[in-house]
Symmetry: C2
Subunit: 318 residues, 2 copies
């Protein structure tokens, strides 16, 4: 019986690890930069290094390792399918390689699914059986909790909400499709749409070099018309996707997580308007649209929860 999970969040920029106790308490944290060059084995050794640093904080207690990562699973094939932000992981058996190097049981979870599970354990959807968590960041991820259980599907790929089509012949997407939600409701998209709108409209943002979703949010709050329009467009398309999800799944709660959720005031009005127009009345009345409560810890707490509750459905060596 293990007492701790060393839970990693493998992001495109940072690799973080938390020592999580059975009650969800975080005992210790470590952080380093994610290796961006080299091959996948460098990520394995970096995770192993963080494990070594964390181990000293748990004495002689037993532990297992959990990893939340921005990956498309391929559970049946026993490896990662694709990893758009960390392409060296494409097709790599990350779980088994970390397990081999560290010498303890290791589990792997899609980061947005992990966030949904974390929020269900200790955050915005606790004690609620049907919830959807969207991570609005560089991209858009999603995780589903249905009837109290994570829904991963037979390949572990379920919840790819960022790739719902919201504009059938819209902006090309890295996934090979076009008009995906991620192309309109991610931080990357808000910056792109602001640049597009600033070409034809007067805005101080047109001359800003280091444009970010946060800079644009502040401009919107100060009345910049281009910034307001960009966030409005982001909220419009998000509302279309949420209405789809409400009509398909009848969730009780939809949680918005990730850095872009901080722009809530700038987009949520348009999002609610689209949901009200497009979703059926009964499930639209039921669902609560809320912000995440666990911040950056959601993914690590989620993968820890999976480990503690031993609901590692279908993990076959990814």
């Amino acid at each position: 019986m293990f007492q701790y999970v060393l839970a990693a969040d493998l992001g495109g920029t940072n690799l973080r690890m938390a020592v999580v106790a059975r009650d969800g308490h975080i005992v210790h944290r470590e952080r380093c930069s994610t290796p961006r060059s080299g091959d996948a084995s460098l990520i394995v050794s970096t995770i192993a290094n963080l494990v070594e640093r964390c181990k000293q904080y748990i004495g002689s207690e037993r532990f297992i390792v959990g990893i939340a990562a921005p990956i498309i699973m391929d559970l049946a094939a026993g490896r990662i399918g694709t990893s758009p932000n960390l392409p060296m992981l494409d097709g790599f058996p990350l779980r088994s390689e970390v397990e081999k190097m560290v010498g303890v049981t290791t589990i792997l979870e899609n980061d947005a699914t992990a966030a949904a599970i974390g929020e269900h354990w200790l955050g915005a959807s606790r004690k609620i059986d049907n919830s959807i968590c969207l991570t609005l960041g560089t991209g858009v991820g999603g995780g589903l909790i249905l009837n109290g259980q994570p829904h991963r599907g037979p390949d572990g790929t379920a919840g790819e909400i960022g790739h719902i089509s919201v504009e059938p012949e819209g902006h090309p997407c890295g996934c090979g499709s076009q008009g995906c939600l991620e192309q309109y409701s991610s931080a990357t998209a808000v910056v792109r749409m602001t640049r597009e709108l600033a070409i034809n409209m007067q805005s101080d943002l047109a001359e800003t070099d280091d444009l970010s979703a946060e800079v644009i949010y502040n401009a919107a709050m100060n009345g910049d018309k281009v910034a307001i329009l960009a966030y409005g467009k982001m909220g419009y398309y998000l509302g279309i996707a949420l209405a789809d999800l409400i009509n398909i799944l009848n969730p009780e709660v939809i949680i918005l997580a990730g850095g872009l959720a901080a722009g809530w005031d700038a987009f949520v009005g348009e999002t609610r308007e689209q949901v009200e127009k497009r979703a059926f009345r009964v499930p639209a009345t039921r669902v609560k649209l809320v912000r995440a409560e666990l911040g950056d810890d959601a993914g690590m707490l989620g993968v820890a929860s999976v480990a503690f509750s031993s609901i590692v459905q279908g993990q076959k060596g990814t």
Copy 2:
């Protein structure tokens, strides 16, 4: 312990009933016209009348009654939410009223969810844990089987696939939204799109008064360009919605049921092309797109299956 379910399929035109045995064998069938005028109590008495006619075929055996109907549920409120094709049922407690009149336990299920359950019991998705059934008819309905169980959601409204947005500012929909799948991939939509296309293009169909999806299908098979384009458009939008569902739910099988599925050869090429372009490779490779096997019996067998397996989740007097 009951041995039979008297299973009704309440359609916009016909009200059918089957006497279903525990092994799925249909012992007897009855049929009459659906009352289109008058109030909801006329539907109750018509169902009661079919029950009387069916009862003589089961001797002294016990039975319960099941009803599959084209309704948006409102389980929490204990009644039907809305019923777009039979508006006299809006807000009506059909289940409890039939139960009261007939004197035996009665269950009610959305017709597309019932079709999904029927196909899972005895049809195209038997022994498969994750499947989606679309009914392509006058409208577009949907039912979900996830992890071997019907997913209805807390209000019973889940599976409203016909109201996925496929064209954000597209054709107005009866649900209050616009650009819903139902406005492009239903039999009604194929007729409308054919009329729209025939205005600017040469086609024998322009002078056909009694245009139907079947007439247009035959014209497409005979090389009529307008008919080919209309079915192509129907297949294109269907492919967009299926790619959404594949990315969100990672199903193993998607079943196309309903009258319009008979036009398979005229639309499925375009549908597959959109799925290939828009869905992630791993779940798109997994999923099989197939035609329903149970025809018009799927809904009746589905509601019978719910009764026999006593998985009447959350039925509270609708």
